[in-house]
């Protein structure tokens, strides 16, 4: 694959590209889903191709070809050059410039005890069915289990001499129980909603989730939610579990700090950001307890690599320090525009999409104390767990999130269960009310695979490490009036 990337670059530069990079990818993806004790689907896909990105006359172009052959590589390169040239448009357009970066060379391979793709599909099916079987309850009408495994080989080369080969494996899964009674529906999931959690690890990660061991609790809680009181409306103290904190970080910190959004290049779809380049180093994002780190070296992170999809080495840098914006997620282009750093957050979905600025692994740094310590200072509040719904505005300011389950907090203790819990806020106001973060023992790493961005759309797999957090003065219980 590396030779093909070289052929593509040669064809691109011969065609007039001032810069070119090529990414050849093979991806093997397995998915098993069961529902109500029956197999819903077992699929095993393998796709391959090459994507070529070029700069011609200061303008980008991208083309791809599914053929991992010299012909396919050259065709992709020539088409990318042609589209870049056609798109360069009027004289006087901004010339794309890239921040200098060392041309990465080397290899990387996920550390895995047991390649998840090599685990027999029958074993995956059996695990799903066993987990489902343990969720049974009179009111649980739908049980679901999903497992996934992926192996990807990625070769990257650039006209600046980058030459990288990386092999990634990842896996994950989850279970859901839907309780239905008298027309009411409630759901509980483990380890997280919307397809579970994944890790860049071997199959030992899935075994460690212990889906069957958690299934009974999931079923019981789903059923209990049918009889629970609705979340009251009002302004109160909210404690978010680590899983819901993942979504909070992802939506209200990760996306607005993508520097391409700040510069407007995602305005037509995912939106922009309330942040401006000049906010770097000065904007108060949240309380002093808010510390966010971007780290593409985190063991087990879905966003961990040796080099990003521009060949920039992995690294770790603060995004928010003591509540102050201290870094963005960037590419070489946006790093040059802001005059800081050299990128490191460019990622593409497979071979058929051009790379975009994406989260890698974005963490809320742990604080101190236990979860019980967070509760102890709450006279009257609500503890919310596991995401159910989410929506946020185009600048990442106004959000409304819902969780599957909640509990009243009274005088430092968990009380009655609550259903249909929602909360809303404005990003910096909400984060300024963060007054406690649980400590390292409570910190957990989650991986999600459904982060969408770009036109045409593409998915990124990202991880977030979080502990539970406590927020004061939060509007809760928002529904149709």
């Amino acid at each position: 694959m590396r030779e093909l990337c070289g052929e593509a670059i040669d064809a691109a530069t011969a065609g007039g590209a001032g810069y070119a990079d090529a990414r050849a990818v093979t991806r093997r993806a397995q998915h098993v889903a069961t529902k109500n004790g029956e197999v819903e689907s077992v699929s095993d896909g393998e796709t391959e191709g090459i994507g070529v990105r070029v700069l011609v006359d200061g303008a980008w172009g991208f083309a791809c070809d599914r053929r991992l052959t010299g012909e396919g590589a050259r065709a992709a390169a020539e088409r990318a050059v042609a589209f870049a040239r056609a798109s360069a448009g009027r004289a006087g357009r901004r010339q794309v410039e890239l921040a200098p970066a060392p041309a990465g060379t080397g290899e990387y391979k996920t550390a895995a005890e047991r390649d998840p793709v090599d685990v027999p599909l029958s074993e995956k099916v059996d695990l799903c069915l066993r987990a489902e079987g343990a969720m049974q309850h009179e009111d649980v009408k739908i049980t679901e289990a999903t497992l996934r495994a992926q192996r990807e080989q990625r070769a990257f080369r650039s006209s600046e001499g980058a030459d990288v080969y990386q092999e990634f494996v990842e896996c994950g899964g989850g279970i859901d129980a839907l309780a239905i009674r008298e027309g009411k529906v409630q759901i509980r999931s483990y380890p997280s909603a919307h397809g579970g959690s994944s890790s860049q690890s071997g199959w030992e990660y899935v075994e460690g989730l212990d889906l069957p061991g958690n299934a009974a609790r999931v079923g019981e809680e789903a059923a209990a939610l049918l009889r629970a009181d609705p979340c009251p409306s009002g302004v109160t103290t909210v404690v978010l579990d680590s899983e819901q904190m993942v979504l909070q970080v992802h939506e209200s910190v990760g996306h607005p700090t993508e520097l391409d959004r700040v510069y407007g290049t995602e305005a037509a779809y995912a939106g922009t950001s309330f942040l401006k380049p000049g906010d770097l180093g000065s904007l108060r994002y949240g309380s002093d307890l808010m510390n966010i780190t971007a780290d593409s070296t985190t063991p087990g992170g879905l966003g961990t690599f040796a080099y990003d999809d521009e060949g920039v080495p992995a690294g770790r840098h603060p995004v928010v320090e003591g509540g102050v914006l201290s870094g963005f997620l960037s590419s070489r282009e946006t790093a040059r525009m802001i005059g800081a750093g050299n990128g490191g957050s460019m990622r593409a979905d497979g071979w058929s999409r051009m790379p975009l600025v994406r989260m890698t692994n974005l963490h809320l740094e742990p604080g101190e104390g236990s979860f019980d310590d967070l509760l102890a200072d709450v006279d009257d509040g609500i503890f919310m767990c596991t995401n159910k719904s989410w929506s946020i505005d185009d600048k990442r300011l106004n959000f409304q999130f819902g969780t599957q389950i909640a509990w009243e907090i009274k005088n430092g203790k968990l009380g009655r269960m609550l259903r249909d819990a929602t909360y809303m806020g404005r990003t910096p106001v909400f984060w300024s009310e963060l007054d406690a973060v649980a400590g390292p023992d409570e910190w957990q790493l989650y991986g999600l695979t459904n982060c969408g961005k770009g036109q045409p759309g593409q998915h990124a797999h990202v991880s977030h490490g979080t502990s539970a957090g406590r927020f004061r003065n939060v509007q809760v219980g928002v529904r149709d009036v």
């Binding site: 896909g45 796709t47 505005d393 409304q400 036109q455 998915h459 009036v481």
Partner: protein, 456 residues
Amino acid sequence: MTSDGQALELAERAWRAAEADEADAVVQVEESGFARFAASEVHQPTLISDESITLRVVRDGKVGCAVTNRTDDEGLREMARRAADAADSAPADPGYAGLQPPSAVPEVAGFDAGTAGLTPEEQASLAAKAIEAAPEFGLYGYFTSGVTETAIASSTGHAVSQRMTDASVLAIAASDDASGYAEATSWKADDLDPAACAREAAEKAARTRGATEIETGTHAAVLEPYAFSELLWYFGFSSLGSLSCLEGRSYLSGRLGEKLFHESFTLIDDGLDPQSMPKAFDLEGVPKQRVTIVEDGVAKDVVWDRRTAKRAGDGRESTGHALPAPAQGFGPLPLNLSVGGGDVPTAQLPERVGDGIYVTRLHYLGVVDPREGIITGMTRDGTFKIEGGKVTKPLVNLRFTTSFPKLVEGILGLSEEVLLVNRSDYYDERYPFGTRVPAIATSAFTIVGTGSGPGL
């Protein structure tokens, strides 16, 4: 790129490579170009060329799927091996409804040679037309066109294929303190006028400066087709497929036959409509049927695939709304929703509202409660006050959490004009689809908060 017949030939080769009691193969071919622009420059132009094959095999009643984009014999054999392994790993599937027997599919429109022949240079030029038409703002959006082909062949002898073209232009005219939106889509690029789209967005943007807030609560509102289409799609995804209905998760579960909406509301799914993105068959080769979902406010039916039809029994048959086999866990989906127009010229809809809100488009919707049809999201790129029946002052982006059924129950008027609105964000394999909707005036649109102002 395959020419006529090659995709079907590939599908035949794919299922014949399987060692199975039954097998079907779905081939999806794509050649597309995306001239994406921001700040009035094409900044992310993307050309895609791909052929994807999904093979489903049945062995001793067990079902498995595999995917490849290698079209050589070795690639097909490898895919067949993985599909067989997938099938053998599972117990027999009692829900398996068999493969579609040989059947005729309707002739549909949906392929335009001119659109298929657009070169990257022409795609970039059409994007440039939009950009040049709105010089007073930065322009953000895209022009895209593609030609796709879907071919299905199976061991039953069923063999169908359809080539489709699609083109869309989307424009947001924006500055730091203003933004307006417009889009257009068709299976014929010549139907689109990128410059007009950009001018519509710019005219809207110019009126959004100086936006103010509005009190929360339930307001009367006009939703342009862009906004109404997106609400309808989210409601449709969660409630109008038979799987969610059978499982009790849908708003329509247990409610079919009841009058749930305003009598002026009639909703169909019609894949054969030449004014939509026509499809002759679904992703298991079942001929598409026109389905009346709501008629004069009465909920009539949902959409079906072979699997859910078997589950329902009672003579129920597929209506031709299946997704590809690996995605059938989502159930069948209505990808050609169409709401009948009303009797109000679009410009007169605000008069039906009196005092309320005018909404151009929405952003980032989330289903809060599928059983009650409650959806949340933001307005964006052109939100205004309606005062005395006239569209007046600009408003900031507003958060709504509202019941789609109540919104439709509260219809004050539907526009005569109906617009096809694209609903594809072009993830994975390109499969064009959209909704045909009028603008709607309603008494029930609930605002629960405010967001940022219009603009970047």
